[in-house]
């Protein structure tokens, strides 16, 4: 019995998820049905600041954009690992602290490597 009792505790979260998803789905369906639609080839053309688009946008672009994006994702994920640590900071105590310092130390080494390599400044 107690297994499904703690399942009941998650009911508010489920309801919240349903309401959120429901709101999104209904508004999209409603606007699709109610909203006027008019599509012609000029409208489906790419917006090129007012002139006709030439060439297509799917052209290879500089690697630097991708590099900056990936580095951001890398350090963002590092921050995500800190959330569970922060939540039960008290229980983990000193062990948790040193564990996180080791983790962050590794990331700092990576950061120093990136900066010394000059991956972030664009002009190089």
């Amino acid at each position: 019995m107690e297994t499904n009792s703690n399942l009941w505790e998650y009911l508010p979260i489920v309801i919240l998820a349903l309401v959120a998803a429901g709101f999104v789905v209904t508004t999209m369906v409603l606007t699709h049905l109610v909203g006027p639609k008019r599509s012609n080839e000029i409208k489906n053309d790419a917006f090129e600041c007012g002139i006709e688009a030439q060439g297509n946008a799917r052209t290879p672009f500089s690697i630097k954009y991708f590099l900056v994006a990936i580095l951001f994702v890398l350090f963002d994920v590092e921050v995500i690992f800190m959330y569970p640590w922060a939540v039960n900071f008290k229980e983990l105590g000193a062990f948790g602290l040193w564990e996180m310092f080791a983790f962050m130390g590794l990331m700092i080494v990576g950061l120093v490597y990136i900066i010394r390599k000059g991956a972030l400044n664009w002009e190089k």
Binding site: E48, C49, I51, P60, F61, W122, E123
Partner: protein
Amino acid sequence: MSQTPNIPVHDVEKDYTTLNLGPTHPATHGIFQNVLTMDGEIIVNAVPTIGYIHSAFEKLAEHRPYNQITPITDRLNYCSSPINNMGWHMAVEKLIGCEIPKRADYMRVIIMELSRIADHIVCDTVIAVDSGAMTGFLYLFQWREKIYEIFEDICGARLTTNIGRIGGMNAEFSELTWKRIHDFLEQFPKALEEFDKLVTRNRIFVDRTINTGPISAERALAYGFTGPNLRAAGVDYDVRVMNPYSSYQDFKFDIPVGKNGDTYDRYMVRMHEMWESLSIIRQAVSNMPDGPVHADLPEFFLPAKEEVYSSMEALIYHFKIVMGETDIPVGEVYHSVEGGNGELGFYLVSDGGRTPYRLHFRRPSFIYYQAYPEMIKGGMLGDAILTMSSMNVIAGELDA
């Protein structure tokens, strides 16, 4: 019909992409197009196209009598239209050779310096907005409204003012105008200091603007730069000092000069010029001479109503001025004024008729924008936008 220049489609081996900074773009404060060839974020080449609001000012000016050309000059550099009006009036006064009383000169100086402050407010706040500091714009634009109110008292219009007449000012400043000018002189310095503290030493602003879009003094002179953009490059050429007009020689003011002609210098030159303009207005207000407000120029200056009803000549003059039939002496004249963003010149050729035979405007924005590709090469796209707003290229003046 082919609307765009031939945009080079992406050539793979040099790995350049082509970006169209087109006519309707949020960052270009006006209507011009730049086809940028870019290596990643670095700009390699720029092909500008202008003329998107070309409204044929010079052809229009050949079909309008002299006092009706003033509204056209409003729409040249519409951020500081009183300066354009005064420049045009002075050009015509130089052609007909009439002497303006001192009081009218001083009133013109007050109006011109107020509109120079208004122009620099727009330019400096827009530089700040383009580098991310939005609050400065909202606060300082409030003071542009105050200047609008002063212009409204004087001539009834906020932006396209059509202020003054050929031969002086049309009326004395009202008490309300003097009070508003005094309030402005007291309260604006505080707001300007606030904006100065907010932006000038802001680390992000300094990093973004220091040596973006630099231009050396020789290249600036070769490209015909004048005004704040030339002074930012290090040359202290100011029309008000070089050949003074409207009794500017009575005022003491110094000319701020930059060093390496980048966006930060252009911003700082305009900030200092605002302080100089404030001191000029204070000098003008404190030793304002009294006397008539306009020259005795019956064939150009509308006579007072009671004279029109009583004397025959006044009636004839009134009719001729209103119908635009006053004939202008034959001759040609070039008169230039220190406009909001450079030397605004009027080359007027008259063949004696009621309309100018040929009127050529020397438009600073048209001349600056030619150097734009050279200034942004090698910089990043964000710097190109900042350079554009720091040059204060006004579309109306660019495509006159």
